[in-house]
Symmetry: C2
Subunit: 300 residues, 2 copies
């Protein structure tokens, strides 16, 4: 990763974690907040909150990131809730995530279910309580988060995934699933950052942010599929070849490596084209451009 | 039930169901909306939305209930999500609710989990999309719903319930659990109705509405305990004596029938005292007063 992008991401992670701690420390929740915190501080990369902050910086004239932090943290809560529920025995039934026991393995399924529900609910409380933004911004951000996280967004994508198990028939269908399961929250991050900067959003900007998020999200998934066959276990930090072993539909179910790499490059070029024009000519570092490039350059 | 209260409730149920249908018909959700609708239209009494509408009418000068309907429906979505998740095998493991198969028995646990998550998320979308109210009202309503439904409210109450199984040591602890598990959403209904009527809420009014909701919610639970020992199976429509059979902590773990009836009456008198003053002297029918009375008069 480019040193600049890396240090920016590390700095953002520090800010986000400290803010998340502040939010969670203020809560009691009858033992629930301890369980919520267990998963919230289980080593997430905080990529989505980073995108919220970078989108905010791109569109804001104030650079007061306190305006965007509640939205960024809310999105991380949503991401964490979805992982907790995804790991449950009735879903993916995973015992470990990032080398740590999953929430239900430590606290039991009932507690994990409630902790997920509570994180999802608390996300909306953080948005509504963002007193650095206007009422209009808070309302638009609430609608945005609900739309991208709900049945027409991320949850819808999990539904498509569950229903289509082993029966994805085309690259188009695979893209649709990734668009909902992965790209939805990336789009959400971009729009939330924009809404922290303005409460009179332009439809064109939102369309462009969605296009960038869509392309980056799908390219990310293609890169995952590629790494699963080209990387080494040592480099990736997890077993390789697991997709084929698990009979998972990947991009290689529909195209060759050469074609997949071209498709990924096309998506990233499109994302960069879309976002580049929003950076001013004298901007020193174009984080969202570099992030898009990193999506295909990454080795893990 | 008083004929007037009954016909008002029936009328409200019709309005709520038609609005809920309108909301759900507009959605696709990749098959998720069908599952969400299954539980949403499984014969709920729509008591909480009714309270939203009646609270709105009490404080509004416009009587345009379209302003309050999105909030009322949002609360019903929350109620439904909590029932779906509560019925799951890792929670209460119930196969039937109101004589119908529970969500996971029809669609599977994974689908029920996602449908619950999606209803919870969609509730916030309905609040944010309420275009008959100000941005301020929508923001306050979002915060209100999140607070009462989340880890410091209803979800927290489920946590207390799970953790204390068979170990509730005092009437005070029992009341605390009912306050969170049951009264939280009743308080929420009252405050949401008020927030649909005004976006400059008075702290005193909110305190009074919370007191009314607290008392009515706890009295409701005491009445449930009483009916479980005094009613007949025919009248109640479900087996009686089940609390004792299941070793459940009830009000009778801490007091006699006589004392329980007095306690319930005291709570309801307090609720009526609190709300009565808000009705104008010439109001024809005081729905929230009558509702409080009904809580102890009901026979099922």
């Amino acid at each position: 990763m480019k040193t600049e992008l890396n240090s920016l991401l590390l700095e953002s992670t520090k800010i986000i974690e400290s803010k998340l701690k502040e939010y969670m420390d203020a809560e009691n929740g009858y033992g629930l907040s301890e369980i919520m915190s267990y998963s919230l501080f289980a080593g997430g990369k905080r990529l989505r909150p980073f995108i919220v902050l970078e989108s905010f910086k791109l569109f804001s004239h104030s650079n007061d990131i306190e305006k965007a932090l509640p939205y960024a943290c809310a999105l991380e809560l949503i991401q964490t809730y979805s992982l907790i529920h995804d790991d449950l025995p009735c879903m993916d039934n995973d015992d470990y995530r990032r080398g740590k026991l999953t929430c239900h393995k430590v606290y039991g399924e009932d507690m994990a279910l409630l902790a997920g529900d509570s994180l999802l609910t608390y996300a909306f409380e953080l948005i509504a309580s963002n007193d650095k933004v206007s009422d209009r911004s808070a309302r638009l951000a609430t609608a945005c988060l609900a739309k991208y996280a709900g049945h027409a967004g991320m949850a819808g994508g999990q539904m498509v995934d569950l229903k289509s198990e082993g029966k994805i028939n085309s690259y188009g269908e695979l893209k649709k699933m990734h668009s909902l399961k992965t790209a939805a929250l990336i789009k959400c991050a971009l729009v939330l950052g924009y809404l922290a900067a303005t409460d009179t959003p332009s439809e064109q900007v939102i369309k462009d942010l969605e296009l960038y998020g869509e392309n980056v999200g799908i390219a990310f998934q293609i890169k995952d599929d590629i790494l699963d066959v080209t990387s080494t276990e040592e480099e990736l930090g997890k077993p390789i070849g697991s997709d084929q072993k698990n009979g998972k539909t990947t991009v290689f179910s529909f195209m060759t490596m050469d074609k997949a790499e071209k498709e990924m490059k096309l998506l990233i070029d499109g994302a960069i084209d879309t976002i580049e024009g929003y950076y001013s000519a004298d901007s020193k570092f174009r984080a969202l451009v570099e992030l898009a490039k990193y999506m295909i350059e990454r080795t893990k």
